[in-house]
């Protein structure tokens, strides 16, 4: 606590906030011209910069324009494979006058690159109601690229310092920083309140990849298929999410092990029995789907979705050090 307060310097934060707000304004103005006649739904994915240094954070946005008389679209985020997701926010806003009124939905992710080089963010999926046919449709945003430059050691050290200062700022943004935040809000409110999100989201971010957050995002992605009535893909999405999560968090080769062996391994890891009960049911259905061509109906699917979600949520409490590289270790065993 003490450290954080020491890191605060009043002038700095105002400057920083204004800079960010202006950057966001410019960035949105440059990149986005809303279509006014809303007889179609339009969407776009973009990043605030296309080049950053490793350790720097970056925002990724998906923006959807849709008519006031259609259903709000659902945005299924891409899986940010090369990034850690630090925070996300979504807001909907109405703009325009009279018959020209329409809505803008913005979903914003604060990302931190997990590696260097030319990184990509895959397509997000937009599930929307087509204004002409009234049918639900799926659209894909373009893949977005970010150039991440490696940092020198001194820069890494500097970044650590700024990170510490950032934490101090957050604390004060809620106290002394409040009037500043209000002024900024007035400035940018017209364009979507992105800056507000920026301020709000500047909580201390988890330093490393969070398996649960990642898995829950992926689970959300799968919902788009449910909405598009593609139960096969929805099921595949749920199943892949769970298996990936088991593999990444617990280091078990979930995609290859048979159900009994997998459950044995998880039990041996002292995962509470209550957590595993749901999984048993899940795998029973999974085997049935895989080896008997069974397609779960909607109710079952919702149940499965719930099971996986609960298991992942409960996983937050479990601390496990996964073995470094599972595959390699097995190869060695063989030799």
């Amino acid at each position: 606590m003490m450290n954080k307060i020491k890191g605060f310097s009043g002038g700095n934060i105002v400057k920083q906030m204004i800079c960010r707000a202006v950057a966001v304004l410019v960035f949105i103005l440059l990149n986005w011209q809303p279509v006014i006649a809303l007889d179609e739904v339009t969407f776009k994915a973009l990043v605030e910069k296309d080049k950053i240094k490793f350790g720097e954070k970056i925002q990724y946005l998906i923006i959807v324009n849709f008519g006031t008389n259609t259903m709000p679209p659902a945005i299924t985020p891409p899986s940010f494979l090369q990034f850690n997701v630090l925070a996300e926010n979504e807001r909907v806003q109405e703009v325009g006058e009279g018959a020209e009124r329409y809505k803008i939905m913005k979903k914003i992710w604060l990302l931190e690159p997990a590696e260097t080089g030319r990184l990509s963010i895959a397509s997000g999926i937009i599930t929307y109601q087509d204004p002409t046919s009234n049918l639900l449709k799926n659209g894909k945003t373009d893949v977005v690229f970010v150039e991440v430059e490696p940092t020198t050691e001194s820069e890494v050290a500097k970044q650590k310092k700024t990170a510490a200062a950032d934490k101090g700022n957050t604390l004060n943004a809620q106290g002394r920083g409040l009037p500043v935040a209000l002024i900024l809000f007035a400035v940018v409110a017209g364009l979507g309140g992105t800056a507000v999100w920026l301020l709000g989201s500047r909580k201390p971010a988890p330093p490393q990849i969070n398996h649960e957050n990642k898995a829950l995002l992926a689970l959300n992605e799968a919902i788009a298929f449910a909405e598009a009535d593609d139960l096969d893909k929805y099921y595949a999405g749920i199943s892949r999410t769970l298996l990936d999560y088991l593999q990444e968090k617990f280091g078990v080769d979930a995609h290859v092990l048979s159900t009994v062996v997998l459950l044995e391994k998880l039990t041996a890891m002292k995962i509470p029995k209550s957590n595993l009960e749901g999984l048993e049911e899940f795998f029973k259905v999974a085997d049935k789907a895989k080896f008997a061509g069974f397609v779960p109906d909607e109710d079952k699917m919702i149940e499965l979705h719930g099971i996986v979600k609960d298991f992942i949520e409960a996983g937050r409490k479990i601390k496990i050090k996964p073995p470094k590289v599972q595959k390699q270790r097995e190869d060695e065993d063989e030799a």
């Binding site: 009994v260 085997d287 080896f291 008997a292």
Partner: protein
């Protein structure tokens, strides 16, 4: 697409009947779930079973109890060194009064034949039994007789090392679907055995179904769905016993020869049986794994090199199951 739901439903109903048999058998037999399950699987899939274990583990008692439960025509053949093939198959008897020959069928004509301590008889007697198992018919005095239905041989044997035994030739053990190994009871089970068998009243099982019920159950096991993915997995496992190097296994020098096509067939049937016992209408890789040891342990012959290192076929099966990719 299989009618999974229907199969599942049927599987569940049928497995309830099986639970009744198990519960009844357990009035006599304490514990030994592996033995009971093995015997039932044989009964249900029409696969002959070889039980191996030291004397006194209730092998004989278990087979007799099961026969009572299903009201099967049961006969017990105690294999001894002086037994002759005709003693089990039957013979042509000359009637001096009428001057005619008449056929006397042997004890092999029954639904369940307990071939007790099969490895204590000479090879030609074993061969006679195993031929009947394979052909499901025998020839007595030039006349051919079909075996009863169901016809099941449940054989017991002492571990090969025991004195005064003639181990079954490899070609003949291959006829047994399962070779089930029986171990000593757990301390709790041993405690219960004392209680049950020292009261002066012999515990008894009652009939709970008929041989016809068993035959009907077989039909539903036959209809259990086994996906091509599972069949391919089975093929991979069997091929890994023959050509381990193809699966990245460096155990070629430990195997003299691997499983033949009977291994594949019984692994498939056994997997269906296991799915049935679990009340499922379809087989999964875990069903294959569950029966792999019982199907393969007597079908993989280990090399002298493996013997010298005290590596058993069990260890080889473990390695194979760990390595062959599960679908």
């Amino acid at each position: 697409m299989p009618e999974v739901h229907e199969l599942d439903q049927k599987g569940k109903e049928m497995s309830v009947a099986m639970e009744k048999i198990i519960a009844e058998a357990q009035k006599v037999i304490v514990g030994q779930p592996i033995m009971i399950r093995g015997l039932l699987m044989g009964l249900l899939t029409q696969g002959h079973i070889l039980l191996e274990g030291v004397p006194g583990l209730a092998k004989t008692l278990a087979v007799m109890t099961l026969s009572t439960c299903i009201q099967a025509k049961f006969s017990r053949i105690q294999f001894t060194p002086d037994l002759l093939p005709a003693d089990i198959i039957g013979t042509n008897i000359y009637n001096a009064k009428t001057g005619e020959f008449s056929i006397k069928k042997g004890p092999i004509f029954a639904n369940i034949v307990l071939a007790d301590e099969i490895n204590r008889a000479a090879a030609k007697v074993q061969a006679a039994l195993l031929e009947a198992m394979q052909e499901k018919q025998v020839t007595i005095g030039g006349q051919t007789f079909k075996m009863d239905k169901p016809f099941l041989v449940l054989a017991t044997q002492n571990p090969i090392e025991s004195e005064g035994t003639y181990s079954l030739p490899d070609a003949q053990v291959d006829r047994f679907m399962f070779k089930v190994i029986i171990g000593y009871p757990t301390p709790e089970d041993e405690f219960e055995i004392i209680n049950r068998f020292t009261r002066g009243i012999q515990p008894k099982a009652e009939p709970v179904c008929t041989p016809e019920d068993i035959v009907a159950t077989r039909d539903s096991i036959n209809s259990i769905y086994i996906d091509d993915k599972i069949k391919r997995y089975i093929v991979d496992i069997i091929f890994a016993t023959r050509y381990p190097e193809r699966y990245g296994l460096k155990i070629k020098n430990l195997i003299q020869y691997g499983g033949g096509p009977r291994a594949s067939i019984y692994l498939t049937i056994g997997s269906k049986g296991n799915a049935f016992m679990e009340g499922r209408g379809y087989a999964t890789p875990d069903d294959v794994k569950a029966v792999a040891h019982d199907v393969l342990r007597h079908r993989i012959s280990v090399s002298y090199e493996a013997e010298a290192e005290e590596i058993k076929s069990e260890n080889i099966i473990d390695e194979i199951l760990k390595t062959v990719k599960v679908p």
